[in-house]
C-alpha cells in the first residue's frame, strides 16, 4: 500500500494540456479507427503514381468490364477489374482518392476561411455585424446547397475548379454558425476583458485570445465539412455535374458504374464502399475530436 505524497502547496497540479489531449486522443477508439482509415486512404492517394498498377486513363476497349479478381472471370492483371472503357479500376480508384480528398480539403479550406471570418466577426462585434451575418446565414441555409450548386455548375460547366469554388462558396454556413456562438462564448469570458483592459487592440484580441480558443470547434466543423464536401461532390458527379471525366472522382465512378448497376454491380459497390469508408473515417475523426475536446472531458 503506497502512501500518497500529498502535494506541496505550490506544486503543479497536472500534466500540460497538450499531454492530456494526446492521452485522450490515443485512448479514443473512434479517433484511432478514423485516423487509421483516413491515413491509409491519404497514403494511397499520395502514392497513387507509385502504387497504381496501370495508367488510370489508359483505355483498352477490348478489355472492357473485366470482373474483379475474386470472381471466376477475374484475373490479377486487374485486381478490381476494368470499367466500361477497359480502364483498370484499381488504378482509377487510387487516383480517385486523390481527387475526392483534394475536393474535400480544398472546399473545406475555402468555406472555412469565409465562415470563420464571418462567424468570428459576428460573435465578436455583435450588433449590426451580427445582424448582417445572421441574415446571410439564414439566406444561405434557406437555399438547398445541392440545388444551387447544381444550377451554378450547370450554367458554368463542370470542372474541378468550378466544383471546388462553388462548394467552397456555399458550405460556409456551419462554420459561421459554430464560430459565431463559440466566439460569443469566449468573448464574454474574463480573459478577453482582461486583454482588453490591458490595452490590446481588437485585432490582437481576435488573433491571440479568441482564435486559439475557438480552434477546437473549428477543427471539428472543418473535419465534418471535409466529409460534407466529399459527399456533395460525389452527389454532383453522380448527377453528372461534378468533376469532368476522365478524372476519376469516386462520385463520378459511381455515376459511371450506375449504368451497370444491375449486372456489373461491383462497378458501383467498390467506389461506393470506398466513399463510405472515407466518409466514415472523417466522421469518426470529427466526432472523436469533438468528444476529446468537449469541455466535460477537460477539467
Amino acid at each position: 500500500m503506497a502512501a500518497i505524497t500529498i502535494p506541496a502547496a505550490e506544486d503543479i497540479v497536472g500534466p500540460t494540456p497538450g499531454q492530456r489531449l494526446r492521452k485522450r486522443i490515443l485512448g479514443h477508439r473512434g479517433v484511432m479507427i478514423g485516423a487509421v482509415i483516413l491515413g491509409f486512404i491519404l497514403l494511397v492517394a499520395l502514392l497513387a503514381p507509385l502504387l497504381a498498377p496501370h495508367d488510370p486513363y489508359a483505355q483498352s476497349l477490348g478489355n472492357r468490364l473485366v470482373p474483379p479478381v475474386w470472381t471466376d472471370a477475374g484475373s490479377w492483371e486487374h485486381p478490381l477489374g476494368t470499367d466500361g472503357l477497359g480502364r483498370d479500376y484499381l488504378s482509377r480508384l487510387m487516383y480517385g482518392a486523390q481527387i475526392s480528398l483534394f475536393i474535400g480539403f480544398a472546399t473545406a479550406l475555402i468555406s472555412g476561411i469565409i465562415g470563420t471570418v464571418m462567424g468570428v466577426a459576428a460573435g465578436y462585434f455583435g450588433g449590426r455585424v451580427d445582424l448582417v451575418v445572421t441574415f446571410l446565414i439564414t439566406c444561405r441555409l434557406s437555399m438547398p446547397v445541392i440545388l444551387v450548386s447544381l444550377a451554378v455548375v450547370a450554367m458554368l460547366g463542370n470542372s474541378l475548379t468550378i466544383v471546388v469554388t462553388v462548394l467552397g462558396v456555399l458550405l460556409w454556413d456551419r462554420y459561421a454558425v459554430v464560430m459565431r456562438s463559440a466566439t460569443m462564448q469566449v468573448r464574454s469570458l474574463d480573459y478577453v476583458a482582461a486583454a482588453s483592459a490591458a490595452g490590446c487592440s481588437t485585432w490582437r484580441i481576435l488573433v491571440s485570445e479568441i482564435l486559439p480558443n475557438v480552434m477546437n470547434p473549428l477543427i471539428v466543423v472543418a473535419t465534418l465539412e471535409v466529409a460534407h464536401a466529399v459527399l456533395l461532390e460525389a452527389a454532383l458527379s453522380f448527377l453528372g455535374l461534378g468533376v469532368q471525366p476522365p478524372l476519376p472522382s469516386w462520385g463520378l465512378m459511381i455515376s459511371e458504374g450506375k449504368d451497370y448497376l444491375l449486372f456489373e454491380a461491383w462497378l458501383i459497390t467498390i467506389p461506393g464502399v470506398c466513399l463510405f469508408a472515407l466518409l466514415l473515417a472523417i466522421n469518426l475523426l470529427g466526432d472523436g475530436v469533438r468528444d476529446v475536446t468537449a469541455p466535460e472531458n477537460r477539467s
Partner: protein, 305 residues
C-alpha cells in the same frame, strides 16, 4: 408576439428578395435562354421571336423588376419547357415532395428519438453503442448510393418493392428510408446529448429527491426539456430534405418538386428553377418560423417572458 411575427416576416421578405436576386443572377450565367426554349431543331427566326416574346432582349435589371413584380402576384412566369405557368407546375408537384419530406422526417423522428433517449438513459451500454454506430454509419452513407443499393436488392434481386412511381404508399417506402435515414443521426445525437445534459441537470436531481418514479422523471421532467432543440433541428432537417429530394426523387422517379428542379436545371428552364429556389427557401423560412413558435410554446421561458 405581433411585433415578433412582423419582424420575422420582414426578414423572410428580405431573404426571399436576396434569394430572388441570386436565382435571377443565374440568368446571367446561363447565356441565351431563347435557344433552349426553342428546342433542338428550331431556326433563327423562331429563336428571335422567342427572345422578344420572353423579353430577353431587354436590359437585365428591367427583366428582374418585371419578374419580381409578377412574382409578388404569385406569377412566376411560364415554364420554358412545359409552356404552362410555373406556379401551376410547382403546386401540382409540391404535395409529392412535402409528403415525402414529412414521411421521411417522421421516419427519422420515430427512429431517432426513442433511440436517443435510450442511449442517454443507458450511456455506454450496448444500445448506446449501437445507436452511435448507426449514426456514424448513417452520416457516411451517400444517399444516391444507398438508393441504388436498395433498388438493386429490393426491386431487382428480391422484387419486393416498386423502384419508381408515386401511385401508392408502397412506392414511398424506399424513398422515405433513403431521405429519412440521413436526418436520423443528427436528431438522434441531439436527443442523446440533450437528454444526457438534462439528466445531469439539477432539477432532475430535485425530481428524484421528491421520490418520483424513474419513468416520471425520464419522461415528464427530462424528455420535455430535451425535446425543445430537437424540434428546431427537425424543422431544419425537413428544410434540408427539400434539397435531398432532388437526388431521391430523380432515382425513384417521384414526380415532385425536387425532380422538377433537377430536370429544369438540365433543361435550362430558368423560370422554374428560379421559382423552385424561391419556394424552397420560403418553405424553409416558414418551417423555422413554425419551429420557433412550437419551441416558444414548449418552452415557458420564451412563452411567458
Amino acid at each position: 408576439m405581433l411585433i415578433y411575427t412582423a419582424k420575422r416576416l420582414i426578414v423572410a421578405l428580405l431573404v426571399a428578395l436576396t434569394i430572388s436576386l441570386i436565382s435571377f443572377g443565374l440568368l446571367f450565367l446561363s447565356g441565351d435562354p431563347a435557344t433552349t426554349i426553342a428546342g433542338e431543331s428550331a431556326d433563327d427566326a423562331a429563336i428571335q421571336a422567342i427572345r422578344v416574346q420572353y423579353g430577353f432582349d431587354r436590359p437585365i435589371h428591367e427583366q428582374y423588376f418585371a419578374w419580381v413584380g409578377r412574382a409578388l402576384q404569385g406569377d412566376f412566369g411560364t415554364s420554358f419547357y412545359f409552356k404552362v405557368p410555373v406556379t401551376h407546375l410547382i403546386f401540382e408537384r409540391l404535395p409529392v415532395t412535402l409528403g415525402l419530406g414529412l414521411s421521411a422526417i417522421l421516419f427519422a423522428i420515430i427512429l431517432s428519438i426513442p433511440l436517443g433517449v435510450l442511449a442517454a438513459r443507458y450511456p455506454n451500454s450496448m444500445i448506446d453503442r449501437l445507436a452511435l454506430t448507426m449514426s456514424v454509419m448513417g452520416q457516411a452513407l451517400p444517399s444516391f448510393w444507398f438508393a441504388l443499393l436498395l433498388i438493386m436488392v429490393f426491386s431487382f434481386m428480391y422484387p419486393l418493392l416498386p423502384p419508381s412511381g408515386s401511385e401508392s404508399w408502397v412506392h414511398f417506402i424506399m424513398p422515405t428510408i433513403v431521405l429519412g435515414y440521413y436526418a436520423t443521426p443528427a436528431i438522434m445525437r441531439l436527443t442523446r446529448t440533450g437528454m444526457l445534459e438534462v439528466l445531469g441537470a439539477d432539477y432532475i436531481r430535485t425530481a428524484r429527491a421528491k421520490g418520483l418514479k424513474p419513468r416520471t422523471v425520464l419522461f415528464k421532467h427530462a424528455l420535455r426539456n430535451a425535446i425543445i432543440p430537437v424540434v428546431s433541428l427537425s424543422a431544419v432537417q425537413l428544410g434540408f430534405m427539400l434539397g435531398g429530394s432532388i437526388v431521391v426523387e430523380t432515382i425513384f422517379a417521384l414526380h415532385g418538386t425536387g425532380y422538377l428542379a433537377w430536370e429544369s436545371i438540365r433543361r435550362y428552364d430558368l423560370p422554374t428553377v428560379q421559382a423552385i429556389l424561391l419556394v424552397f427557401s420560403l418553405i424553409y423560412i416558414v418551417l423555422t418560423f413554425l419551429a420557433d413558435l412550437l419551441n416558444a410554446w414548449l418552452d415557458p421561458r420564451i412563452r411567458v417572458g
